[in-house]
Amino acid sequence: MNTNLYNYILGIADNSLILGQRMGELCGHGPNLETDIACTNISLDLFGQVRGYFQYAAKIANDGRTEDDIAMLRKERDYLNVLLAEQPNTDFAYTIGRQFLFDVYHLLFLTELEKSKDLTLSAIAKKSIKEVRYHQRFSSDWVKRLGDGTEESHSKMQQAINDLWTYTDELFHQTEADKAMVEEGIGVDVTKLKKDYYEKVSTILEQATLEIPESKYFQKGGKEGIHTEHLGFLLSELQYMQRAYPNMDW
């Protein structure tokens, strides 16, 4: 199999998988019905994308594994999502901050991925862009509402952005699979998205009357499968049924 392509797809899909799982945790517990619906909807969109990616990955792997095997039967060190995606729902400001910092990246990324030589990836990207544009609008709007809302919400939103900021730089790190795929005209050169990303993010943060963090220190590791301590617990839920009842159809 084309290992680089396979790993490349996993890198993309795991972001949606893990973030989708986080959003799914909130279902039924949102601050009001409208946001509850929106968060569930984001989760739904992300899992829809995940299915597309993993079905394709299963085809490439061609070793009998299904989309579910790939999604739910890897070990913690084999998940390639960025650390940002796995951060917990500490409060609604974190949920929104995490979503926003990912959405801006996600939209830039998919817009480039649509130009991929790989037609399957291009097609998934095309379909996803519409969804992610909506996600970005939703999360940006809420960043503004919370940032420019009350004193309390401002401080919570700022705190969330400060804490999550440290995970943004990783979005623009290239893995070996990334580089190989860029070379082949299949992958996106994420390093080129960085400038636009921070500009877009900064614009929204300014509109939200929030300070742009100045930290020079960033965390990375997710793309190499070295995660924060949060991921293991998320996986124990995600994988529970597949692990406890192996080799069954559902």
């Binding site: 279902c27 601050p31 579910d68």
Partner: protein
């Protein structure tokens, strides 16, 4: 208004309902009609919202991506139903906050079935198959109820519910065609959910209040016992197809009635749950209250932001 005027309005009102005309929010209506509708519709909305919790419980653990997506979509639909049922109720002059207040303090009820825990994945099947099944039987007649906003909401709700029911049944089918372990899981879920589903159709006619008036207003077309019989007659053959046994040793086909006879329902359990002492009553309300209270700062921020924005616009307009 004189008593006579009121009586005349009431007469016209009753005649409109009789003629199957829809009552709209701006129309005159008897206070009791308004109150009864607020009670029933908000209870219905609450049921949708609380009903998200037992299924939401399995979202992070759904056994396949396909099922996870379907479950998310289903719970999202329920939130949507809650949303437009609340909106429809608001047309009667009560705010969503007041309705939440009633839910959180236990003044308003919700369907007591949601006070049972979802302990295995198979419960996602039985909740769809039985609980949505019973709900549809309750709700289909409401599509032609007299209050316009409610009737229109129910048309939409029923369409989605029957999709949900099929989805639940399909989960059961898959389990029953699966490994013995999966089939056991399905049978176990049926064992736990069967009786609560029968109770879902309400107390026996003998103990049911409000019925006569509700019939007149087309809030009800059949008695609880009739609906229950309909549910059983429809569901037993479905269980047969699954190869599952209904956990009722007294259940048998009555050739004469062309209907199933069935065993005694444990009404003590029903009333215990209705009164707030079911397995999950406290948890469910706690989850809703936590979400609401924990979200207060978020809602406050949204309001503050909206009014700032409004001011900004007004300033620009000057």
């Amino acid at each position: 208004m004189s008593e006579e005027q009121v009586r005349s309005l009431e007469k016209q009102f009753d005649e409109r309902i009789e003629r199957d005309e829809k009552i709209e929010p701006k129309d005159w209506m008897p206070e009791k009609y308004r109150k009864t509708h607020i009670r029933q519709m908000s209870q219905h909305a609450h049921s949708e919202i609380v009903g998200m919790l037992p299924e939401g419980n399995w979202i992070t653990r759904a056994p396949s991506l396909r099922r996870k997506v379907a479950l998310l979509a289903k719970v999202q639909d329920e939130a949507g139903h809650g949303l437009y049922l609340y909106s429809a109720t608001e047309t009667l002059g009560i705010s969503r906050e007041e309705m939440y207040e009633q839910l959180h303090t236990g003044k308003a009820k919700y369907s007591s079935i949601f006070n049972y825990p979802t302990v295995t994945w198979a419960d996602m099947g039985t909740v769809g198959w039985l609980v949505d099944g019973a709900a549809i039987i309750n709700q289909v007649p409401l599509c032609s109820t007299s209050f316009g906003p409610y009737a229109r909401a129910m048309v939409r709700v029923c369409k989605e519910e029957s999709f949900h029911q099929r989805q639940g049944y399909e989960i059961m089918l898959k389990l029953c065609k699966g490994t013995p372990e999966q089939k056991d899981m399905a049978q176990d879920a049926l064992n736990r959910w069967w009786w609560p589903s029968l109770m879902m159709l309400g107390p026996t006619d003998a103990e049911s209040v409000h019925t006569e008036q509700s019939m007149k207003w087309k809030l009800k077309r059949k008695s609880n016992d009739e609906l229950r019989q309909q549910f059983i007659d429809q569901t037993v053959p479905q269980a047969d197809i699954l190869g599952l046994s209904i956990p009722d040793k007294d259940l048998k086909w009555n050739e004469e009635r062309q209907s199933y006879d069935f065993g005694e329902i444990n009404w003590d359990e029903f009333w215990q749950v209705v009164k707030g002492h079911g397995p999950m009553n406290k948890e469910r309300i706690k989850a809703r209250v936590n979400a609401w209270e924990g979200g207060e700062w978020v809602r406050d921020a949204a309001m503050a932001y909206a009014s700032k924005n409004q001011e900004r616009k007004e300033k620009q307009a000057v």
